[in-house]
Structures are given as structure tokens and as C-alpha cells.
Point group: D2
Chain length 357, copies 4
């Protein structure tokens, strides 16, 4: 019951703090015989890498991953895969202000309340820096489910939603926001740039679609595929909401609108006439695309001075300087992809173990 | 890794199908020495009990719980608590239609895809009947955290939201909808009655607030309190979305709006000036009320004939007769309370084990 | 992390006390589609059933098992299987003596030290009565691995070991001791009868052999097949020692004696020239028979008055009257078989999940 | 359910192969606020370190541990502690012989049967090199239970047992065998040296005593303290048997001999008149010293040519050259201490969580 682990048959454990010497993940349960090298992982880390444009933190981390175990002559051996990423750009900054005062919106106060002490350097363990480990682990997971394609993109920044009529997946690699709507990407650029310059930050909504998942994955009742996805998404820094398929909109639907009708499909599988369910029924995949969305709050590190208290309970004011993402939602897209890959690969292995299929 | 179990130090396992002879839960890890009898559990089951008015299914189940183990002379002994509820009102109905065809919106097709067979009687294991076991387990959990008050109520049925300016918790026991707004309760009655009469169903949003949770509960990073709550809520039948605090609305907030400022409180604890976070930061409770919402889809069992396929892949049409809740969200309120109690009691025990506090 | 659960993909949870109204097990993870009825389970319970001769306790329990869930029309559905056994012969005995004083050799003092209270009726949860639940669960496990044959028998009672030159498996059903050596069975009968009449009790060693296990089951490093078996055996009441293959005797072997040589076998699989390893290497099955032994202490309930203390810490003396097995090792044989079946079935499912084989 | 993890509230995961670039452990669940540095861990690694005399392998590994996370300003923070040990003395040896043939007594065949491939360099993951990670993790565990003293020593090498009348714990640091009997240590030196020179190896029995464990630790029924210890010991390379207290000798005891009588103790706690139980009853500690023993087979790597088969199933002969411990039992003593520390620290945290004590 490592509380820094996730998954069942495919289970990964992450370790490391924002300004420690390194971070990493141990991925256990990867099937043997898969081709795996650093080159399979690096591209995903590169997508999440900071410092690539003005819309993400200026911390410079190459995020070069090393595989320390579990691979022999280019193939996984079935033993734990240790993934190792050095922290390069730790600043010898003075953290005494953060150490002494609680930054509103951050986990500072909660960590102190829980542990009685905390590592204040860049948020320590609660920093989104940890998500690099997830992305590395997620790249391993993808190798387990080669038939599944997982794509995350932003559909809302700062309250500005994309226009679904302009939705084009090909756009997401053409702008710094993984935005599938070129026009909205332009609006976001302006809006976010203004927020950044004023020392503020914006929230976001990330959507993720997984295609190629066969019907039958997921383990009801308490490890339903949607419950696993919700838990996975909610474990990402700054996430406050998760929905599957139509999500909150189902509240306004009638039964006959919501139920996804079926008819015989050309390929022998059922053809669904709609996907309100987002590809999951009863906690089990239906064979339709899995669709989920998560909302991320605006970065809590802002330049506006805010009222707070010190560790000693005294009134104080704090300004969070330093290098921060003005919208954490952007770099969360590859993280969500990784978490979805980890959930799905685990579900595949479980399904195979449980049923032999 | 029982996939029908939930929790860590407080861990419960449920078993049973809608039309089997009984259902139940085994609650393991309850601390010793707590006063516990059936009378502590029954009131919560009574809240969830079907057949109490025209807005819930007409199946008549007394849902009388028996404690079969783990209690001696009125006190918990620290050993597993077996909770047992007989199924009384199983109809000797003909299930051949449901057995042969997949009901759209239900888990029928997914279960068959996963397991190769299924119990068609009333949905078998995928029926919301199972949630009675959760409610019983939740009543045990409440005994572990006597200082915590957990209240769930509906804030939206069929797209009609409550008016927050009329919010009055005292109202929730005065109408059949756990609605904190008497006016909206009236609207819902009309709307739902019309839907019911037309053989349709409506979706809903349930909100839950837990007060009295001290700062420090929750286990980052992969068993964050919010991730646990999201997983717990999403595991409830028909739930498609979960949010904590401001939830999806955070996407439209700016950093300075979202961060909950603090000042020294009268009681020595920090006083927060807002609660956008919904009582959780970094996956750990902050001492503020914990606030979450979940959306439930409209009941998939409707009288409208819908297009579907048979088990053999042939085109077919199905009408779901039988006894059903026209809005599953209503009876989900006590279920959500139970799940929140189970998550919080577990978090308390974990926190105590981890830190000695 | 239910501490009353065991296993991974096949995971069972037991509940119940010696003199509660019932005991039972929930078996989760059983693959779907297996033929299963009470008739598959009852014969194994009958082997463990008390009161069958003068060498076991005179408590009369029919141990009739009911399957309450997880089976539909004679086939497992993949959902939790709830197994239920009523306690019939609970005596309305006066337990005040056991409640007030600690019986040496029993768990009374330890339970009080842990929990602050205990159910004194027949030992409560610490009674071997619980093992009926294991035997029922084990019968389910056997259905998962039909090619595996598991046989346990006694090789030592009260220090009298069998003579391996007379070893004949066919004998084990011809005497009340599951003894594979008819001559030794006679000696045990005399020895145990004398001990019983004098109010004493004897220890025992049980051996178990599993054939038909293919090479490759088991999960190194911390869930090695032998580690799982050791944990399973040691969890049985009164067990104080476990060994695999040559066990403690390996200390006196030289490397060239111990290493099991291989040569090409007629069936294409390797043929091993010896089985010092007991069928497990590196925590993984080798395809040879799996051989383990466990030692059980003499029943702690004896008629000799023994020095002890009261709950209040006062000096006292206690005589344990009541119905007891003079040698708990005898009825432990079917329990060990069940535990081995549960470990192996779990290992099979895990292996299938991990590797697809 | 990482299968390379062990423990519940204190849970560690190890990774790494014998000839990979590094090995390590992630220790999760360590309480916050404990003083911890590399200097607390290194002495235990030094005890296990190879190459210190002619009775252990000549591989030269400094085994310098680095703490990569979970500690800030010399104190644990409650977050995962990543322990990292570089492999220095990997030989650029030719492993083609080991890759092509199965070494009898080793895990080669079993790993191939399970995974379809294996890392042949020095045994890969199945090498005892991994136990350095356990020793490092165990040193962290000791910080959690400062009142507990854990000492392991050898009581038998090659069939030569110590003479208990000469037992002197102070001796164990005065000879290379952790032998508490100086005379026997001399005999072992001769015997082992002869075995080593002839290219053979010897088995051993290691005993471990833990004092200072209060009554009440351990979680019945399936995570009993003795079951956890048995699993922990059996997970160590080459271990084939485990016993607690009198162990296998209980088979020859009578009930009145075996039951440990109690009387009021001077300190208010019960005083036990004997310790046949080895400090555990009903799976829970009794407050007496915990005593366990494990047997290790002789090293399978020997210079005698032995009959075997190739990966292709052809008859072959193999001689295991290279650097090996002639008696793996010696260096297993600090490993057993570490595993016992990890089990006990976990049991303490669980007990605290479960009961608040």
C-alpha cells in the first residue's frame, strides 16, 4: 500500500522533490519481451518539458531519462524498470520566505498540518515537477497497449472554450497549447500573455481521447475503469474536476437521450449510434473511444501580494516570485495522456489475468 | 487487490447481486472498542430504502441489516464486521428478454464483453441494489470519525438547478429529493412526475459537504484525499462526473481569485477567507469543509423502445419494463454520504498510522 | 489492504468468530464461466469437519456451505463469491473464566494487548473454526487450476515420524490421521489416545505435495511462490514452522548435493534428477512437484492446571475445559491443501496477467 | 500490488540487477520528522558488504548509499525515500555460457520459463546483490522503532551447529561468521575453507532475535506477525525454511510443555516463564523476544561440473566460475535483520493506525 504508487498489475511508484538531486519512477509489472529504450520515453518527456516557450515556466530541465533496470539487450525482462531523471536547474534561491509563510492555494499549510515539516524548495514533493516521472512511466505503459492511441489537448483556457465546429486534431501540434482549434489558440495566446505579464495565471480544461480500447477492460465495482481514470486525473497537480463522456451535462439529459443505442456493425462488433457514456459502461470499456476531461485551477503562484499567515500563526503577506507556469493546464496534457496510458495498460493486464482473454 | 474492495486501513468488500438471496459487506480494519449495533446502521439504510414514494422504484425491500461478526457485547473487536442484508422482493420475473438483448445505457454489453456471461436478473452485480451494502459500511465508518458531519443533497435534477440564495439545509428532510431549496423541490416534483409518467428518466447532481475534518488527512501523491473521493464517487452507479470545491469553474478563474487567503483565526487555527479548494490542497485536508459534487446520468431503464442488438449480434429493439427509479440521483445521496464517510475514516486511520497524530 | 484477506488476483476475505452466528468468506477474482455449486465445496468441508472421531473435537458442526453470490445458473460470473457457513453447535457455556484469565499458549493475552478487548467465546476470531472458511475458499480455487493435484498428509505426530520406506498415499484415507504409513498410524492412535485421556495434546508435522504445476508460476521478489506458501501456512492456527523441499536439511548439504541436475526429458520438458528445491527456484515454480511441510504446536487447551494471570494482572491458575482437538495438526491437513490451492490459483492468474501465458 | 514491494504502511520497493548500473529501493510511508542521513544506513551496508574476507565473494563493491529524496535538512519529510547504490565492480565477463545453459540450483530455468528471457549477467534480478537494497531500507526501518534491538547470527554451517552452552552474543562481531560460539566459529572456518578450496559450498541456519517489541503488534488473520516474518525470510535468496520460537521442535512437545505460563511481572507487565512461542501468539506479539530461524541452501554456484540442459533443451554440462560466496548464509544475517526491522516497523505503524495506541 505504497501511497506513492498507482496501479495493480502494472504498478508504478514515484519519488523525488522539485529541488532534490533527482526524481524517478519504478515501474513494476511490465510484461517481459517488449522492446524498450530511452528513445521510446524521451519524446513524451520532451512534450512536457518546461522552458520551451513563454507560456511555460522558464526553468530549464533537459529531463533526460535513464533506464537503470528491468531492460536487457533492449527488451523488458519482467523485472522492475527504474526510471531516473536528474534535476539540473535547481536554483540556490533563498526559500526562507516560503518556509516561513504559507502560500495560499498551495499545499504548504496542508503539508505542514500533516507532516509537521516540509521541504519548501519549489514546493518539494507537491511540485508538478513530479509529473515528469509519470510521463516517463506512461511511455512504458504505451508499449504494453500498442493498439491504443491516447491524445490529450486543451479545450478551455481561462474560460475561453474551443469552438467544436473548428475541431481539428492536427492543430494540436501547431500551437503551444495543444489546442485543436487554431482560432481559439490565438485568443488563448493573447489572454494568457496578458495574464502572465500582469503576474496572474489562468485555469484550463484538458480533454483526452483513447481509441482502440477493446470492450471488456475495467474491474467493477471499486476499480471501475472510470473510477481509476478519475483517481488518476485527480491525482495530477491542480486538478479539481473530472468527467467521463458527457460528464456534468448528463444531469440535463433524459433517459432516451442519454442511452447509447447499438446496431450490428460492419466489422461484427456492435456499432454505437452515440457515445454519451464516453466509452465506459458499468465501469467496463465498451469498445467506443474513451473520453474524459479534467479541469485545472490557475497556478497558485502569482505576483499579487496575498494575505496569509506564518508557520507561527501570525498574519502576513506573500508574493510568490520565481519561475512558474502561467497556466499549469498546458503541460498537464502529456501528463494526463501518461496517466490514461498507465490506467489502460493496467486494465489490460488485469483483464487478461482475470479472464484469460 | 480485491477489486470489489475499497479503502486502506479501513477496507470494505461488498458482494451480492440484485436478485440473489442476499447482499452484504465485510468491513475490515474498524478500530476496536467502538459501540456498534444494527440500530446504528439501520437509519442510514432507511434513507436509501426503495419504495418510499413515487419518485423511487417500487421494489419493496426492508433492507434490514444483520451484523454477523466483529462485534461482541455491543463493541467492535477489531475483527472483520460482516454485514448481511437479505433480498426479499426478488420477482420471479422472466428475464429472457434482458438475457438475450443488450439494454442501451446499461452495463449488459460491457459485462458480456468482459466475462462472457452475466446474471441478467435486475442487472445482477451492476445493479444499484449493491449500494445498500455501501450504506451499511458507511454507517460503521461514521462511528470512527464522530466529529465529522457529512451531508449530501441534490442541487440539480433534469437540468433544473437549485437557487443558492434559497439554500437551507433544514429543507433536505422535508421533501423526497434531499433538496435544500423548497421552491426548486416543487419544480422537481412536477418535472420528475411528468418524466416518470412518460416512461422517461432524468439526470441529477448531488453535492456533499463534510465538516469537522481536521487539517492533515489524505495521502499524497496517488491516494490524495480528492483522488480517493473522486474514485469513490465515480464507483457509484450512473455517476459520470466529480468535482471538488469550485470544480470545473476553476477553468475560468484567475490565480488571485482562486487562491484561498488565510488569516489568524480566533481558535488558533488559520481562518480561510474563501473555500475555492473545497477543503483539500495538495491532496490533504485543510480543515475547511470538504465540498464535492457528482453528476448522475438519467436512469437507462426507460419505456421508450430503443434500437439495440442481441447477444448474437442481431438487430433488435428493447423496452425496459420493471421497477426503476426515474431519477437514480435521489437515492444516490445517502450512498455518496456513505462513500465519503468511508474515505474519511480510512484517511483518519492512515494519518494516525503514518504520523502518530 | 484488508488484513483478513489473502491473495492478489484471486483474493479472499474471511470473517466470523467461533461462537458467532456464522462464518464465511468472500472470494473475489474467480474467473468467469467455471462450473461451481455447493457440491463442489462440501466434500472438502467434510474432510475438515469436527466430531468425526475421538481424535478431533466433539463439537458437532455440519458445516453446510451456501453460495450467496457470484454464481448464476451453475457458473461463476466473475463477481465476488460469498460463502456462508452457519455456526450450529455454539454452547451456551459460561465463558467468564476465559474472559477473566489468559490461557497460556492461546492468543488471549495478545488479543487483549492489541485490541483492549476480545470475544472470549471459544477463542473468538483466533479459533481454528475460521479455517472452515478457508477450506470453502480453497475448493473454489481448485476449480481454477484443474490440472493441479494437491494432497496433504501428516508425517509426524508427537515426535513420532512416519517411515518413508512404507510411504503409501493410498493409506491417507484409511485412517483418521491422513497418515501415509499404516504402521505409524497405529502408533499415533495409541499415543494420541493416551495423551487425550490424560488431558494433554500433541504437536504434528503436515506435508503437502502439489503436482501438475507448470514451470513459471510465482512472482519474485517479494511475492515469490515459496514466500506466499510460507505466509499462507504460517497464517494457519498453531503453525510455528514452514519449509520447502529439503527445508532445514539444506543446512547440512553441500552445493553439489543440493543442486537439482537436469537432462532433456522425454516430453520435451527438462527432466530433473532430484527435487531438493521442492519445485521452486528463485521464487518461481520449476515444473517439479511442489513440496512443503509445516509444524503445528500441541493444542494449548489442556486439562492440566497452569499458572497464568488475570486481565487485571493478578496471579491465577486456569484449566481449559471444553471441546478441543487433542492434535490440531490432523484437521489442519485439509486447511493446508486449501491454502496451497489458493496460492497456486492466484499465482496462475497473476502469471497469465503478467505474461499472457 | 507491486510484486517487488513489501509491507503495508511502511512499504518498500526494490529495483535493479546484479550487473546493471545501479540498484536501489524506494521506501514509502516512513513517518516524518525522523533524523536520517546516509551515515545511519552505511554501517548496515558495510556489514553485508562483499569482499571483506575469504569466506565471502571477492566482488568489490563499496555499496555507498545515496539518499535521493524524502529527507530535508536531515529529517524525513514523510515522502518516499529513494535509496541509490551504484554497481561498481561489474565484470565485462563473457556470460554466453550462462545465457545458453541453465545452472542447476539457480533460478535460470525458472526465469526463462516465466518470462521467456532473462538477464544472465550474474543472475540478473535473482542475484543476492539485490539484498543490499533491503539492508539500506532496513536501516530506515530501524529509525522508526528505536526501542527495538534486532540481532541475527549463524547457528549452523554445513551441518555443524553451535553449542548453546557456549552462546555469547558478544562473540558475533569477533569472527567472520556472526557466530555466537567462538569454538564453533573455528570449526566453521576450517570446514568452509575446505569446501571453498574444493569448489564446493555449504548451507547454513541463521537465527534472529528482536527484543523490545511491545505486546500487540501484528495483524491477524492473514497478515499475522509470524506470517509476515515467514514471508520476509523466505523472500531472501536461498532460504528454504523458516521457524518461529521452537519451530519444528513443537511437533514433539506436549501441550503442557509448550504453553508459556505467565505470572505477574515486577514491571506491571506479565512475566512469561518460557518462550516456546518465540514472542508471537495468534499472530500478535506478546512482549517477549521474537525469535526466528531460517535455513539457506548451499550456494548453487560450484566448480564441480554438473549435468544440465541448454535453452534449446539439449543435454549439456556446466561449471559455474566467477566470484561467489561459499556460504550465502553468512551475508544473509544482516539481510534478515533488515527484513525483520521492516516487518516490525510496518507492524508498529499499522498497530498505531488501527488502534491509536
Amino acid at each position: 500500500m505504497s501511497l506513492n504508487s498507482f496501479g495493480h498489475l502494472l504498478r508504478f511508484t514515484t519519488w523525488g522533490e522539485s529541488h532534490g538531486s533527482a526524481i524517478g519512477a519504478v515501474v513494476d509489472g511490465c510484461p517481459p519481451g517488449l522492446a524498450l529504450s530511452e528513445a521510446d520515453i524521451q519524446p513524451f518527456l520532451d512534450k512536457r518539458r518546461p522552458g520551451q516557450n513563454k507560456f511555460t515556466t522558464q526553468r530549464q530541465e533537459p529531463d533526460e531519462v535513464r533506464i537503470l533496470s528491468g531492460v536487457y539487450e533492449g527488451r523488458t525482462t519482467g523485472t522492475p524498470i527504474s526510471l531516473f531523471i536528474e534535476n539540473i536547474d535547481q536554483r540556490s534561491k533563498d526559500y526562507s520566505d516560503v518556509a516561513a509563510k504559507y502560500r495560499p492555494g498551495h499545499a504548504d499549510y496542508a503539508y505542514d498540518a500533516k507532516y509537521g515539516l516540509r521541504d519548501p524548495r519549489g514546493g518539494g514533493r507537491s511540485s508538478a515537477r513530479e509529473t515528469a516521472s509519470r510521463v516517463a512511466a506512461g511511455a512504458v505503459a504505451r508499449k504494453i497497449i500498442p493498439g491504443v492511441t491516447i491524445t490529450a489537448y486543451l479545450v478551455n483556457i481561462g474560460g475561453i472554450a474551443i469552438d467544436r465546429s473548428r475541431f481539428d486534431l492536427a492543430e494540436i501540434n501547431r500551437n503551444p497549447f495543444w489546442c485543436p482549434d487554431a482560432v481559439t489558440a490565438g485568443l488563448w495566446a493573447e489572454h494568457l500573455d496578458a495574464a502572465r505579464k500582469s503576474g496572474s495565471s489562468l485555469g484550463a480544461i484538458v480533454e483526452c481521447v483513447a481509441t482502440g480500447v477493446p470492450a471488456g477492460w475495467g474491474s467493477p465495482l471499486y476499480h471501475k475503469l472510470d473510477a481509476q481514470l478519475a483517481s488518476a486525473a485527480m491525482s495530477i497537480n491542480a486538478v479539481k474536476a473530472v468527467e467521463i463522456g458527457d460528464g456534468f451535462a448528463v444531469a440535463a439529459l433524459r433517459g432516451e437521450e442519454n442511452a447509447d443505442r447499438m446496431r450490428p456493425g460492419a466489422d461484427g462488433n456492435p456499432e454505437f449510434l452515440s457515445n454519451h457514456a464516453g466509452g465506459i459502461a458499468g465501469g467496463i470499456s465498451t469498445g467506443q473511444p474513451i473520453v474524459l476531461r479534467m479541469a485545472l485551477k490557475p497556478t497558485s503562484s502569482i505576483l499579487t501580494p496575498v494575505e496569509t499567515i506564518t508557520r507561527d500563526g501570525e498574519a502576513a503577506e506573500i508574493v510568490t516570485k520565481g519561475r512558474h507556469d502561467p497556466c499549469v493546464g498546458i503541460r498537464a496534457a502529456p501528463v494526463l495522456e501518461a496517466m490514461v496510458a498507465l490506467v489502460l495498460a493496467d486494465a489490460m493486464l488485469l483483464h487478461r489475468g482475470q479472464t484469460g482473454r
